[in-house]
Structure formats: C-alpha cells, structure tokens
C-alpha cells in the first residue's frame, strides 16, 4: 500500500469517527428508556437510593440487572413467608431501582406494606400506608402505559384499605384509559372487563352517580357488542346481567332516596330487561312498577332519605389496664321501624315480611353499621390525613397509630382495644404526651340498605351531640373525639 | 539474460529482546539470473530466511533495495508469478491436501474451470492422490512436504523460493526433490534454494552464495568455485622413499598402505611426478583434475568468514 492510500485510510478513519460522534446524539437521547428510565426523567425521586456511584453496580451487573432483581424479589417473598417484614421495605426499593418494570414487585410490595405489617391482633400498621402509596406511584410513573398499577392503587389501596373513594375512582378512571398488554410480547391486549365494572362501582361509592350511570351504560354497551360476536358465551350473558342489575339498582335507589323519577323509570327498564328473572325478582319488579305509577299518579316523588333519623350516639371509654382501653356506647342505626313506609319497600318487601313474623322472631334492628376508632398521637387526625396522604418513604417509628372498628349491634357497641402485648411495643411506642381518641361513623361506608334510609351523604342522619358537618363539607357524619394524656393510656 | 532477483545494499536490523540491535542481513548485494538454479547457503542464523522473507514482502528492509522479476520486493502483481515453499511448512490441519490446493488456487484466482484439473494433476505429480482427501494432521513429514511442493507449483510460477526443501526427508524423497528442481530448470524457471544439504545443492545449483553472519562471504558459479588448478594423482605400490620425493613436488601428498594420493599444480610438475612414480615402479591408478566439494568450500568460507 503506498503512502497516498495510507493517508487516505487514516483520513477516512477520522472522518468516520466524527460521523460516529454525531450518530451518538440520537442514540443517547433514546437510550434512557431502554435502561428503564423515563426519558423525561419523571418518577425517580421517590427511589433515591440512587447516587451516581451506584450506577457502577448496574453497569457492572451488565446483563443481569433484571435477574438479580428477580432473585432479590424471591428473597423478599421468603422474608414475608417467614414473618420477617422489616427487610421487605429496603429490598423493595432496591429491586425496583434495579428493574423499574417488574410490575408484580410494585403491586405485591405495596400490598405487603399496606396489609401485612400487623400486630398481635392482626391490626395493620398505618404508618406504612404512605410508603405503599409512594411505591405504587413510582411504579405507575415507570409503567405508565398499562392499566395494571393504576388499578392496583385505586382498588387495593384507596378503595379497600384507605376507603378514600374519591381517590379510588380517580385512579381506577386512569386505569380504564390504559390498555392491557400481553406479558410475553407486549402487544396491546383487551383490558379485562372487571376494570370498567370496578370503575362504575368506584364512582358509586364516591357518590359520583352520574358518572357511575354512564360507566355502567358503557359497560353494558361493551358487553352487548361482545355478545353479538359470541352469542353463545354464558359468561358474557352473566356479565351483561350483572351490569344491568347494578345500573338498575343504582337508578332505583336514586329514585327512592332522592325522588329522581327519571332515574326511577330508567331503573325499572333495566331491571325489566334482565334475563332469567326468578319469581321473587319478578314480584319485586312489579312492585316497583306499581310504586312508580302511584307516585306519578299522585304527582309526588319518593323521599326515603329525607326524614331525619336520630343516631342517638353516645360513647364512653375507660382504661381497663395500661394500654388496654374499653369503649362502649350507642348508635341507633337503624331500628326496624325506620323502614316503615319507605318507597324501596315495594321492591325489597323487607318491612312487611319482618312484620309478618311472630313478635319474638322479628328483627328489631337492621345492623351493618361500623364505628371506626383511632387512638393515635394528638397531631394525627385520620379523617383529614386519609384525604391528604403524602406519599413518602419515611416512616416515623415514634408515631403511634392504632386503628380498629366495631360492629354496631342492635343499636349498641362495645370494644376493648388491647395494645399491651409486649410484641406490639414497636407498633405503639407511645412516645408522645398527648393523644387523640377519635371515633366516627360515615354513611358512605355503610351498606346500601342503611344508605337507603339515611342517604348517601347522610341527608337523613342527625344527632343531638355528635353530628359533624364540617370535617367533610356537604357530608353528614357522626364524630366524637377525646383528648387523652399518656397517663390515661399507660 | 534478465535478472530474476536483484539485491542492492540490503540491510535488516531487528531490535534485540535484551536491548540494542541485531543485524540479521548486512549490506547484501546479490543477483539471480532468470532460468538458473541459485543456491543460497549459510550456517544457522546467517540471515537466509530473513532475506527470503524480505524478497517475499513478509518483512521490510531497514535499508537497501530488493527487486523480484523487475518489481520491488513484495509487489502484489509479481506474487502471481512466484511461489514459496517454507521450511517445515504449516498448513491448516483441518484441511485435506485437495482442499488446501483449492484454497490456494482461490488465492491465485485460478478460474474454476482450470482449478479441478490442475489440483488433480499436481496431486498426482507429488504422489498424494491416495491421501488427497485425508486431513493434513494425519500426514507424515514427507507427505506434508509434498503437499507443500504441490502448492508451490500451483500457479506454474516463473520463480520459486525453496527453503530447506529436503530437510527431514528420506533419500528417495531427497532424490525426488532434486529431480524436480532440475525439471523446473528445464522448463525455464528460476529456482532460489536455501539449504543445508550441500550435496544436493552441489548437484543441482548453477550458482551459489554463502552468507555468514548476515554478510555475503562467497558467491559464484558452482563449477568455477569447486574447480581447482590442481590435478589429483593416485598410484599404488609406492615406497616411502618415492613418496618423500613426490611430497617435495606436490601441494599435498598422502601415503597409506602403498597407495599414494598427491595433488600437484602445473603441467611440468605433473610430468615430473608421473616420471618419478613410474621410475619407482609404482602403478598409476588415476590422474584427475581436482574438484573441491561444496561442503569443504562452505566450511572454509564460514570458518574464514568468522
């Protein structure tokens, strides 16, 4: 090779290096998403185990990050099965940092945090709720294209655990905007039907009845379209019926409780369209039709939830022994008499059937209400806290939050909250001087048949001493609070 | 006659592993004519293989010039017309002889139509037809050498470099190689042979050069180099006295069991010696011009060169 050729080759090499340098620009831009980081840099704050030097571990692991993460997760699961919950938190953070796309880790990890840190009485540690939310929000930021974690956050945590139905509806709504994906190929797949159904339920529980109605209608339309494609599929028939029944009942209740006659009529139509109605169902439907016609004829509307029911709430507490508190009292929800003359009776027949029984066998109370109790540091007010959960990884181990609930039976309740087990010392440190003993009942958490009488917002609920209309404006609840000193408890 | 190889002031220095420099070839001047068999001799480490590698373009001179068939050493076009049989050739062991020749044929860009016939003919010529499809790792040294010869003839070269072509071969194989070299000359080809087998070189070579410690110590036509002005006289039945008289006339004289071997120069001296021996009653056995062996020349040159 002569000198000219050699010079030419050298120049070509340098020129190519320059081209390579330019080519690296677009590659570098797209690169972060293949490393499991969002190109917009969002969603990383909450898992800041990360500092630059730790990139070495990731780099050094080269092709094994995901496998290492998977193996670590198996370890975490072992810890859980052995009842050792403490290591799970840092393990979850490490695993999700190594591999931000292992969906099951986020969902199971958050489930552990919310549900499985339990004391000797199986009461879960509320201090882990913010980290659970933090974990899921991070998981959502890193896996924002699929429905899975949105649904998990909305259903498992906000709806089931925290019972913040508004937030639940928000997150499940987001889930319903995202597709499912084939876990092996990533191809878009049909989102399972339960997502859209649960959204309708969530809207109902959150009192967003118009949205619930529209969502049920959407679900019904989807089921009908699916049924046209597969007319012989019995699961689709069942799915359709469930949707229609739920919508029908929602509309009927709006009619009975609040006098919405358009809803009442629509509800009747939906119930009428159900397939395979039994004799009782048919009788109930006929009853509803007659009732509707009667009201129409009279030119009036039902108003089951309007007349006030006095909850007649009373409560006392006493220290049985150190860290053992007994609470008892009365909550008059709901006496059987409260159901007399309700519009919903045309459908349920509950009152008349109860009255038809011999005196000794009659049900005196419609039970189902729960009184919720929190004994915690003074600065912790659960009712405001639950609506404003700030997702964070920090757990304040000096905090004390004991939460329980008691079923109201026949207008009375009684519970002993025992925090004295030595194993529970870390759960309830009682490090502060002042505490709050908070009790409440809210109609949103009550069964339908209770809401039928007192309304979803507590429109028909009153109490002489403990009615609260300020904690959640527009809502009526029963609330009682005691301020305790440390010596009152220990 | 045209010049096949021309070397002018060729020097090659290597960096010594212990530091400093090693001069493998030192200001070598040499010419090889087309159509001749040229013997390139020297002790181990003299620089023979280094010179050949420079001529083939495998390594590069530190200074000086070398040309092959009129082009600078290493020229790609020239390589189409030359070939090389290295000392103890190494080939890809997984290949058979046939595959090996096909491989080299591709490197020579021999057209496919000609390739098959040429390969078959060559295998037959070197006596490897039966073993042609066995992997080379099963070949003996002699068979490998024959495979090497075959690849060296593949392109029907004008100039062939043979480095120790008979080393490690049995006498028959020796003879085959020597015959081959003579055949090649008869075809008008130039053969450049580097060898320690001086008897073989003496037999086939037209001209030789002797390299000692990288320097050219001797070169010339074989006939001339080996021929002397002396005449060898052999006689039987020679007495000690007569031998003593011959000794004073001859350059060299040796008496052994009545047989006298003497080397004399000049016609007069020869005549006087014959007369002497005849008068002494000896029987003349032989009178020949004296030839040196190449081996002797080589040893003298190398020792003298040191």
């Amino acid at each position: 090779m002569n000198r000219m050729n050699r010079v030419g080759l050298a120049v070509s090499a340098i020129a190519l290096l320059f081209v390579i340098s330019v080519l690296q620009g677009p590659i570098d831009k797209l690169r972060p998403q293949f490393r499991g980081q969002s190109p917009l840099g969002k969603g990383r704050e909450t898992s800041m185990l990360l500092d630059t030097s730790l990139q070495f571990f990731g780099a050094a692991a080269m092709g094994l990050r995901e496998v290492v993460a998977g193996a670590l997760w198996v370890r975490a699961d072992e810890f859980f099965h052995r009842g050792q919950y403490e290591p799970i938190v840092p393990l979850v953070r490490l695993v999700t940092w190594l591999d931000p796309h292992q969906i099951d880790v986020y969902s199971t990890g958050a489930w552990h945090l919310d549900y499985n840190f339990v004391d000797s009485q199986q009461r879960s540690d509320r201090r882990y709720i913010p980290p659970a939310i933090a974990l899921l929000e991070e998981g959502i930021a890193n896996n924002s294209d699929i429905y899975d974690l949105y649904f998990e956050l909305g259903w498992t945590h906000y709806l089931q655990k925290i019972r913040d139905y508004g937030k639940a509806a928000e997150w499940i709504e987001k889930a319903a905007e995202k597709p499912a994906k084939d876990p092996n190929t990533g191809e878009k797949a049909e989102r399972p039907a339960f997502v859209d159904r649960m959204l309708a339920h969530a809207y109902e529980k959150a009192g967003q009845f118009d949205k619930a109605e529209r969502q049920w209608e959407k679900t019904i339309a989807q089921s009908e379209s699916e049924l046209r494609k597969r007319p012989k599929d019995p699961s689709l028939v069942l799915e359709l019926d469930i949707a229609k029944r739920n919508l029908g009942m929602l509309l009927l209740r709006r009619g009975w409780r609040y006098g919405d006659m358009a809803a009442y009529e629509k509800g009747i139509r939906y119930i009428d369209s159900l397939s395979g109605k039994g004799a009782r169902q048919k009788a109930a439907l006929e009853g509803a039709k007659r009732n509707f016609a009667e009201f129409k004829g009279r030119g009036t509307v039902p108003h089951d939830a309007s007349p006030m029911v006095d909850a007649d709430f009373s409560v006392t507490w006493r220290k049985v022994k150190p860290k053992v508190i007994e609470i008892q009292g009365t909550l008059a929800l709901l006496p059987a008499e409260a159901y007399k003359g309700l519009a919903s009776e045309c459908y349920t027949f509950w009152y008349q059937e109860n009255q038809a029984k011999p005196e000794a066998e009659r049900i005196k109370w419609q039970n189902g209400c729960r009184l919720r109790i929190v004994l915690a540091d003074y600065d912790f007010d659960y009712l405001t806290w639950k609506s404003n959960i700030r997702s964070t990884w920090e757990i304040d181990k000096t905090q004390t939050i004991a939460m329980d609930e008691v079923m109201v039976r026949d207008g009375k309740f009684r519970i002993t909250i025992d925090l004295s087990d030595p194993e529970d010392l870390s759960f309830y440190p009682f490090a502060k001087d002042k505490y709050r003993l908070l009790m409440w009942f809210t109609p949103q958490e009550a069964p339908d048949y209770i809401q039928d009488r007192i309304g979803w917002r507590g429109e028909g609920l009153t109490d002489k001493h403990c009615l609260d209309t300020t904690t959640s404006p527009g809502y009526r609840m029963i609330r009682k609070e005691f301020i305790l000193r440390k010596s009152d408890i220990i | 006659m045209a010049v096949a190889i021309e070397i002018q002031g060729l020097t090659k220095r290597f960096k010594s592993p212990l530091g400093g420099e090693l001069t493998a070839v030192d200001s070598l001047d040499l010419e090889v004519q087309e159509g001749e068999i040229f013997g390139f001799l020297g002790p181990n480490g003299a620089g023979k293989t280094t010179t050949i590698k420079i001529l083939l373009g495998l390594i590069f001179p530190s200074s000086g010039k070398a040309s092959v068939l009129g082009k600078p050493a290493g020229d790609i076009e020239v390589k189409q017309r030359i070939s090389y049989l290295p000392e103890s050739p190494y080939f890809y062991e997984h290949m058979s002889a046939r595959e090996l020749l096909r491989f080299y044929a591709d490197l020579f860009k021999i057209p496919k139509e000609d390739r098959k016939k040429r390969v078959t003919d060559l295998l037959e010529r070197v006596g490897l037809t039966d073993a042609a499809d066995k992997p080379l790792r099963h070949y003996s040294k002699g068979m490998l050498q024959r495979a090497g010869v075959a690849q060296a003839l593949l392109n029907d070269p004008d100039l062939i470099f043979l480095d120790e072509p008979t080393s490690g071969l049995d006498p028959i194989a020796h003879a085959d190689i020597c015959n081959l070299i003579l055949d090649l000359k008869a075809q008008g080809k130039t053969v450049f042979v580097s060898s320690h087998q001086l008897a073989d070189i003496e037999m086939v070579a037209d001209r030789v050069a002797i390299l000692v410690s990288g320097k050219l110590a001797m070169k010339g036509e074989v006939k001339e180099l080996l021929t002397t002005k002396q005449v060898e006289v052999i006689a039987d039945g020679v007495s000690e006295a007569a031998a003593g008289e011959v000794k004073s006339l001859a350059d060299e004289c040796e008496l052994h069991a009545g047989r006298l071997t003497a080397y004399v120069q000049g016609t007069d001296t020869l005549k006087k010696t014959i007369d002497l021996l005849t008068k002494a009653g000896a029987s003349l056995v032989a009178i020949n011009p004296r030839r040196r062996t190449l081996e002797k020349l080589f040893v003298e040159t190398v020792r003298g060169g040191r």
Partner: protein, 285 residues
C-alpha cells in the same frame, strides 16, 4: 474473491475449535435448563427465563468472541501459515478483513444457534403458561373473584429476535477491537486489554452521568469526557434487556433505535478495521 476465501477457511477452522464448541454447548444447556424455573407466577418466571437466557448468550458471546479473535492473526503468524498466504497475491488488508469476516461469521453461527434455542424455549414456556391479570388472588382473602383474570400470553415475541441481533452486533464491534489489538499484542495481553475495553465500554452510563452533570465540570473536562464517549466503543447501547424482559414497558422508536445502534456498530467497526489495516501494513510476519 480472496477475502471470502480466507473468511470461509477461518470459519472452517474455528468451528472445529473444541473450546468454543464446549462453550456453545454449555450455553445452550443453560438456556434449556432455565425453563425448569417455576417458582413464582408467569411474569416472575419469565423474568428469570428471559434474563438468564439473554445473559447466557451475552457471556457466551463475549467469551467466544474474545477467545476466537485474540488468536485470529497471532496464530497465523506463530504457526507460519501466514507465510504461504501472504507470499501469494493476497493484499494484507484482504487477509486481515478475511480473517475478521471469518470471525464474524463464526460468531454469527454461534449466536444464531443460541438465540434460536432461546427464542424457542421462551415460546414453549409462554405457550404452556397463563398469566394472572388484575389483583393477585392471594392478596384478597377469599380470592380476588371479580377483580382478576388470566391472560394466555402469545408464544412468539418478535422483539427477542431484535435483542439477539443487538447482542450479535455488540460482539461484531468487540471483535473488531480484539482483532485490532491482535495485530500488535500477544493473545494473553490482548485478552485482558479487550476485556477491559468491554468493561469500560459497558460502564458508559457512568461516563455519561459524569459528563452530563450540570455545573460539575468545566468545558475542558466536559470535552475530555465527550472524547472518551466517542472513542471508547459504547457497549451499553446494545443492552435492551429491560425492554425485552418487560415488553409491556413501552419504548418510543424501538426500530429506529435498533437501526441507529447497528449503524453505530458497523461504522465503529469500520474505523477500527481501518486502523488495524494501517498497522498491519507495516507488521512484520
């Protein structure tokens, strides 16, 4: 042509190298064995199967390309087989590129074999599995009932093919580097030098984060890192494991990214081979 002839011969020789075949067989065995992992649910199992499988191909590819290429040129020189080749009308660059091409083809055969087995194993596992979607039934006392279901995952994931291709091109580039070093380094030194280049090139995120950190460095330091970023081959580009193991994670412009990365590999290899050619022209054999 000459380059192709030399390449073919190189492949023939390499495929008979016992040590490479041992690595290939061990890798394939490990990929098949990973199928037996059935600890947790489908998604977790698949993480292990895919992650391990890709890792095995990566390591095997690394070892094969190092072992194969460190001796490509030196072996020829040591055994002197190069003499009977370069004494023929073969240009030095033809020899070099022919050897490189042969190495690439050998690597292609090995990676293709491993990749095929891997993709088949993943497809087999997927075909006989189902995945839970929605709330894990174990998380809800009494079962998840209305809020969970099962998906039958599709068996063949085409993105795995892209992943294997990218692994191949990673070693396409590494082989060029190894071959460049083999022109002037002994095989042992070359092995460690090339391994070092691979590790440094794979730790590119570290360089990048140092380079990208705002306010941390002046223009000289930044310029220095930019040069390092350009001249050290970035092997990290080829790692898309996360996307392959979690195909549900959407990435923008995957085909574009793959194309750009392959182009990068080819261009960079050309540069390296050019430098190797220049050095080899003057290499005494």
């Amino acid at each position: 042509m000459v380059i192709w002839t030399i390449a073919k011969t190189t492949v023939g020789e390499a495929m008979r190298k016992k040590i490479l075949n041992v690595f290939l067989l061990v890798a394939i065995a490990m990929i098949v064995l990973s199928l037996s992992f059935t600890q947790l649910g489908f998604k977790q199992d698949m993480t292990i199967v895919k992650g391990l499988g890709l890792f095995v191909i990566l390591v095997a590819g690394l070892v094969i390309s190092l072992i194969l290429c460190v001796s490509l040129i030196p072996n020829e020189i040591e055994r002197r087989t190069i003499h009977t080749i370069l004494s023929k009308p073969v240009k030095r660059y033809e020899f070099l590129i022919g050897k490189y091409l042969g190495g690439l083809l050998t690597l292609l055969i090995n990676v293709a074999l491993m990749g095929t087995v891997f993709i088949i194993m993943v497809a087999v596992k997927a075909h006989f599995s189902s995945a839970v979607t929605g709330i894990n039934p174990e998380h809800v006392p009494g079962g998840a009932g209305a809020v969970s279901g099962t998906i039958r995952p599709a068996a063949f994931d085409p993105s795995l093919v892209l992943g294997v291709i990218l692994i191949y091109f990673q070693f396409f580039l590494l082989s060029a580097v190894v071959m460049l070093f083999s022109v002037f380094l002994t095989p042992t030194v070359n092995f460690f030098a090339s391994a070092a280049v691979y590790i440094i090139g794979s730790a590119a995120p570290v360089w990048e984060s140092l380079y990208a950190e705002k306010g941390a460095a002046g223009p000289f330091v930044k310029g220095f890192y930019k040069i390092i970023h350009t001249i050290i081959p970035n092997f990290d580009y080829f790692n898309i494991q996360n996307r392959l193991i979690h195909p549900t994670h959407e990435v923008r412009s995957m085909p574009l990214y793959v194309t750009e990365t392959i182009t990068y590999a080819v261009l960079f290899s050309v540069v390296v081979v050019l430098i190797a050619v220049l050095i080899f022209e003057k290499r005494e054999v």
